[in-house]
Amino acid sequence: MAKKKTIRTIPQERTPMLEQAAAARAKNFQEVACGYRLEDALREAERCLLCPDRPCVAGCPVGIDIPGFIEKIGRKDLRAAYDTLTDTNLLPAVCGRVCPQENQCEGVCTVGESLESVAIGRLERFVGDTAIKEGWANIPYIEPNRYRVGIVGSGPAGMACAADMAKAGCDVTVYEAFHVPGGVLRYGIPDFRLPNEVIDAEIENLKKLGVKFECNTLVGRLFTIEQMIGEMGCDAVFVGVGAGYPTGLGIPGDSLNGVLSANELLTRCNLMRAKEFPNFDTPVPLGRRVAVVGAGNTAMDAMRVCLRLGAEKVYCIYRRSRKEAPARLEEVHHAEEEGIEFNWLTNPVAVLDDGSGGVRGLRCVRMVLGEPDDSGRRRPVPIGGSEFDFECDVVVYAIGTNANPIMGQTSRLRLNKWGYIDTDDDLATSVAGVFAGGDIVTGAATVIEAMGAGRKAARSMKVYLGLRDPCLPYRVDADAGDRPFGIDRRERNFVRVRMAET
């Protein structure tokens, strides 16, 4: 038996991850962070104290058994580590790369109280990548039942729900409007942060579970949600269509050529491969000087894509300070290294016309942080007379997105006042048998939260269909009244219970 680890005996510093040098990577689309090698992973796994409190598990939106998988890395049993991860997380190679770990598991890590926290995300990615390299997939024994499930949207929410329902034995089809599946993972997040091969591998795993993908299918217009549960014979439907309707700046000049949304830029570049124009037909507006408005992940991605497309200068314009920037810390850090010029506490007031319909520059005003607003963040207020102009020829706005109107236009699903789909706590919508989750319910959030929602909806769907759910088995802690012998009442038989989990 190994000696008990203490904070003093573990490697004190976080194991660095190999990265492409900033100057080189700013000119290519290859992945920035190269991932851990086995020896790096072993060293980093050594840093986990396997503490009994396990705050990291509570910090993870899907409750991954983090110490469990790290302990298995420590024993060099990577396959077992992968099994533990995939018990809860369908997409470890994706989440290890894109989760905001600093606000989740790593933010509450016990080691982090005195040293740098354990690099949980990097370890997760290491295991996920190893699985892809080795071709591992956890395909359980699946006993088909007679239920058909339709999933609308192939982003992380849809994928997670599809996987769980397929494992439960349902006949699952995912309908996607684009010509390839993946949602934001595909069209939004660029290759240098999340390579296409990783998404492909995860989708292959879904296909191995029996999930079918129907691309080029705009649900609502080609057929409606009501038709799915009616004539198409779906017993349950999950709606995970994301929320990508970009908001404009609403300032003078924002319809000039040369002003575009980050979604348009990224879709052209990532999905349509405009970076390889003219070998691929889709062009992208190339700017010499690009101003990107916003400081979330989308903004960081847009800035770094512009740099790689050959822009000489890329500016970030954000009305709050660096501390409030919603992007992952690592992305801000990478963007800074690559030479993005950050203008914190700056707000655009007008896009300036070059006289021929294009952009000549951006007029901005300096801001200070005032009182906290509803979100708890300090509200930025303009400083009188601080307006200034600077030169740029492309303006990209990455200031948030809204719900897409198609579902509302074409179905009876009840929406809330902002146009997002209204659900109860179990993610059931106002239409029986239809569940929803991900960005279309919560507004723009994160990959892991969307996945968590997909899984939660799957759980409710199983209850609705009266399927036994291995995720909620025998509960010893339950009070006997409702759950005699520790078994949920609804779990005792296979009768289809048309009611939400109580």
């Binding site: 684009f178 080029n216 705009l218 057929f223 319809s255 949304s261 124009f277 897409n404 198609i406 236009q409």
Partner: protein
């Protein structure tokens, strides 16, 4: 679901061709005024095309295409009966509202002639008095005359040079119709932006409701990129999900025309790049076909 097989190809002129594509589900769902997004091949761009017709029994939709840019020219070369499109998604957009109009002028010019047809037909089916006004450059480019005659109570053909119908733009046709009928409830116009602008300007003094179908550049067609944004009065709308039909008297056509030029330079580059490839291919083919060619 469908492999987007082309079942019919018909050429109306040097530049205009018709494709009928098999997609039974879409044929069932399509309504007048909607459009599709097409990708010719994996490396292609996504281009919006208005659904010119649909046949629910045969399970097909019809597209009428003008070879103007790289993709539409490449499609003209590649799309034959029995070939397949890489992607076809739709029907997109809000279907045209079935108006309770009793007397309607349906105007189609250039690439708008085909898509105005299902609208005119739908109106006829709902018992409206339909006046068709369709415009072409000259007599040789005229198509679907019989088809329109069958569903229109009156048909005015306009040509730039007067070689068929009346001489002049479709706005001339509208003026004639308005002069003959004082009780026109609505004008529906589809065509190049400059034409739709002309139509809106023509009807404005008469206060006749005028609907136009806008055709900005699009990427996804699902409301996700904002590339298709248009100015309608004071508001910004996305043509792909909020349209494509809008009140012509409120549309900022100058903004639309300016935004259509966003990628003029790149479009020319793409076309040149492709034509170079075609010439190279021709040379290779010629060498291979010529006696002794390819024997080296």
């Amino acid at each position: 679901m469908s492999n987007f097989e082309i079942v019919t190809r018909e050429d109306f002129s040097e530049v205009t061709y018709l494709l009928e594509v098999r997609h039974p589900l879409m044929a069932r769902a399509a309504r007048p005024g909607q459009f599709v997004i097409v990708m010719l091949h994996e490396a292609g761009e996504r281009i919006p095309l208005t659904i010119a017709d649909f046949d629910r029994e045969a399970g097909t939709i019809t597209l009428v295409v003008q070879a103007v840019g790289k993709t539409t020219r490449e499609m003209q070369q590649a799309c034959r009966r029995g070939t397949h499109l890489h992607a076809l998604v739709g029907p997109m957009g809000v279907p045209s509202t079935t108006t309770h109009a009793k007397k309607v002028v349906c105007v189609g010019g250039g690439l708008g002639v085909a898509p105005i047809y299902p609208q005119a037909r739908a109106l006829k089916e709902s018992d409206a008095y339909v006046i068709g006004v369709i415009g072409f450059r000259n007599k040789d480019l005229v198509f679907w005359e019989e088809k329109f005659k069958a569903i229109c109570d009156e048909l005015i053909i306009c040509t730039d040079d007067g070689s068929a119908g009346i001489k002049g733009l479709v706005t001339e046709g509208i003026k004639q119709a308005v002069a003959r009928h004082s009780d026109i409830d609505e004008v529906i116009a589809i065509g190049p932006p400059i034409m739709m602008k002309g139509c809106a300007d023509t009807t404005r003094p008469f206060g006749i409701r005028t609907m136009v179908s806008l055709n900005p550049l699009m990427v996804d067609g699902t409301g996700m990129c904002g590339g298709c944004r248009v100015k309608i009065g004071e508001e910004v709308k996305f043509a792909c999900v909020d349209g494509p039909d809008f009140d012509g008297h409120k549309v900022d056509f100058d903004d639309l025309m300016r935004r259509l030029k966003r990628f003029t330079k790149e479009e020319r580059m793409a076309l040149e790049h492709w034509e170079k490839g075609c010439r190279l291919q021709q040379q290779i083919d010629a060498t291979a076909a010529s006696p002794g060619g390819g024997s080296e």
